[in-house]
């Protein structure tokens, strides 16, 4: 992104890495795909890949959400809670309003508004009130979880069959989730071309400098959080499609996975460097690691340990490849 860097003319690989910082992550992804295919050939079947995308689409969305705040040097520890809240809001509304097509769409729309509102609250707390992002969003995560528990106190309440059958089904012989991925790609391409992405990176790179050069830093950071809320809401719709039910705690464990995906994708938590594509790849890396741990036949009592180690190794490999190529 920062094309003014002097390293650009050193060697072609370094230049490519400078423009596309997610290349090491992509390399790791390819290695993981090959390993998965090696240990379980079926894992590369059409059905298995559809399954992988259905399962991890929510994490991909959540990682993208996280990227927009990380770009500006912020963090959002409430993405998981936002996801849970949107999930229960959508489920409860669909139940109240009946499962008709129009009502389902309206419920999804209200869900997206809920996500935007959560993002706006975070943005105001962090950028306008100037509270430290990590603690402020930790606090709002507890608040959002509380609201989610109020909306739906117990996990359950099925989604209308039409809703999850669409998510798990096909349109024109192509799985619905692939259409979502295509729409997502289009949306991301459009967003990359907006000024906002560049402004977020500028703020993350040097907030003081950005301010002095006349950028409305607080407003930009708030926009980053609102965008984060939007994608967390989209992630919630994916979860709702894949689990067909409401759970006020469903996103809790996903927050740190989203941060991990962002970092695996080559973004810097300090801000100023990052791509949404990288985070998307990072989410897939996490998913493939989880499957690989099983496919290599890890005994059950070691599965958590090996999974943690594998994520660490992927992180180190990313740094290593980045340094090697960058020299």
């Amino acid at each position: 992104m920062t094309s003014l860097s002097p390293t650009a003319d050193r060697n072609p690989f370094a230049a490519a890495l400078e423009r596309l910082p997610f290349l090491p992550a992509l390399l790791i992804l390819v290695v993981l795909v090959v390993l998965n295919g090696w240990f379980e050939p079926n894992s590369l079947s059409y059905r298995a890949i559809t399954g992988l995308v259905s399962t991890y689409l929510a994490l991909m969305m959540l990682a993208i959400a996280q990227t927009y705040v990380v770009m500006a040097g912020d963090i959002d520890l409430s993405v998981g809670a936002t996801l849970s809240l949107v999930n229960v809001v959508v489920i409860v509304l669909m139940e109240r309003w009946g499962g008709g097509g129009g009502m389902v769409l309206l419920a999804c729309f209200v869900g997206i508004l809920t996500g935007l509102a959560c993002g706006l609250i975070n943005g105001l707390v962090v950028a306008a009130l100037r509270l430290q992002a990590i603690v402020a969003t930790f606090a709002t995560s507890i608040f959002f979880t509380g609201v989610a528990l109020y909306v739906l106190p117990v996990a359950g309440t099925p989604a209308p069959a039409a809703f999850w059958r669409t998510y798990g089904g096909r349109i024109l012989e192509i799985p619905f989730v692939f259409w979502v991925v295509a729409a997502l790609a289009l949306l991301l391409v459009l967003l990359v071309r907006t000024r906002l992405t560049l402004q977020l990176l500028a703020v993350g790179d040097d907030a003081q400098g950005a301010f002095q050069s006349g950028l409305p830093v607080a407003a930009i950071r708030i926009k980053g959080y609102v965008l984060c809320g939007l994608f967390a809401a989209l992630a919630a719709l994916c979860i709702t499609g894949d689990t067909a039910s409401g759970d006020p705690l469903v996103g809790g464990k996903m927050t740190l996975y989203s941060v991990a995906a962002v970092v695996l994708g080559g973004s810097a938590l300090s801000g100023g460097k990052g791509t949404v594509v990288g985070s998307l790849v990072g989410a897939l890396i996490i998913g493939l690691i989880n499957s690989l741990v099983f496919f290599v036949g890890t005994p059950s009592e070691w599965q958590n340990l090996v999974q943690g180690l594998a994520i660490l190794i992927a992180l180190m490999a990313g740094v290593f490849v980045g340094r090697r190529v960058g020299q």
Binding site: A48, V154, G156, D242, S245, K253, M254, G297, Q303
Partner: protein
């Protein structure tokens, strides 16, 4: 796309012929989404032992296990991994009652038998093989009402509010106590299935109601509650439900506690596995699994330990570690008796 699906179809065809060629070999996937207690570890070990026992009957039952602390999407990934691997059956201790409907539908489409155990699921594409948690709650309450001769103040210490199993157990004991007008439930508290919280809750209850005669308490919290009862010097005056780990059974024996324990055996997964093998052989159940709130349950007998068979329970646990639970499971013969 067409080439890909043609490829997938040929792969499926090969897989199909392979499984027909070796009809006596089954692969069963076990998924457990929470590893926070020894009970779950024991559950998986017993299921693995049950699979190994089929060797004597000339069957090869391979088990593949996925067991880790995962969220609901993580456990859905477990199921998808099993589908990719092409297992014949999946036995799952599910993290959610409703969230698996879509993925179980996909498993069924792939020709995989899905059985949930320990917690019921709403999916019409799965069956439940395990105990009826409502009956579990009722059994302890019946013992307590009998022991107290239908008279006295009772308190209840429950698990996690809103958890499906907890709600069923609560419904179970309430229905029993309602039939005994002499029993008065003076308070019901939640101690989140945590032994220390159970002990704390019991202390508070003893301080508030010095004249309670009975305690209905679940699982490991019972050991905590009994600790408080002993500390208060009321061991002889109070009857309270107990639990099934060796540590508690030993204490029960040595102190002569007035206790009775409803057993939720970790062997439920082993039972489910034996049922699964017969179903994979194409045998039909004498009574189809249609019980429970979702109409897909097959309930297993619930053992009960009281003073009359305490010595037997202690003997089963002889030489086991302190956290080991009293267990029971359908043997292969028991399971076969359920089929036509």
């Amino acid at each position: 796309m067409t080439r890909l699906s043609a490829f997938a179809a040929s792969v499926a065809a090969i897989a199909l012929t392979a499984s027909v060629a070796q009809a006596d070999t089954f692969t069963i996937g076990l998924s457990n989404g929470w590893v926070g207690s020894e009970w779950r570890t024991q559950m998986i070990e017993e299921a693995q032992a049950a699979a190994a026992a089929w060797e004597e009957k000339g069957h090869t039952v391979n088990v593949v296990v996925q067991s880790a602390n995962v969220d609901v999407p993580g456990q859905i990934a477990h199921v998808r991994n099993f589908i990719s691997q092409g297992v014949d059956a999946i036995i799952i201790n599910p993290n959610s009652p409703t969230a698996f409907d879509p993925v179980f539908a996909q498993a069924k489409e792939a020709g995989i038998l899905v059985i949930s155990t320990d917690a019921e699921v709403s999916s019409p594409d799965a069956i439940y093989v395990g105990i009826d948690q409502t009956a579990w709650g009722a059994r302890g309450a019946e013992w307590l009402a009998e022991t107290l001769n239908g008279e006295g103040k009772v308190v209840a210490i429950n698990g996690v509010a809103g958890h499906p199993a907890n709600e069923m157990r609560v419904a179970g004991y309430r229905s029993v106590f309602e039939q005994h007008p002499g029993i008065e439930v003076v308070n019901e508290v939640n101690a989140n299935w945590d032994q220390a919280q159970g002990q704390q809750a019991m202390q508070n209850l003893l301080a508030t109601y010095p004249d309670i005669a009975g305690v209905w308490v679940q699982d490991g919290m019972a050991a905590g509650a009994w600790k408080s009862i002993q500390d208060a010097g009321k061991t002889g005056d109070i009857a309270a439900t107990g639990e099934i780990r060796k540590d508690f059974i030993d204490l029960w024996t040595s102190e002569g506690l007035n206790s009775g324990a409803t057993v939720n055996p970790p062997g439920v997964m082993a039972s489910a596995l034996n049922v699964a093998v017969f179903m994979l052989e194409g045998r039909e159940l004498k009574e189809p699994a249609t019980a429970g709130q979702y109409g897909n349950a097959m309930y297993l007998p619930i053992p009960f330990i009281d003073s009359s068979n305490l010595a037997e329970a202690a003997a089963q646990l002889e030489g086991k570690p302190g956290h080991y639970s009293y267990t029971s499971a359908l043997s292969i013969e028991d399971a076969e008796a359920l089929f036509k």
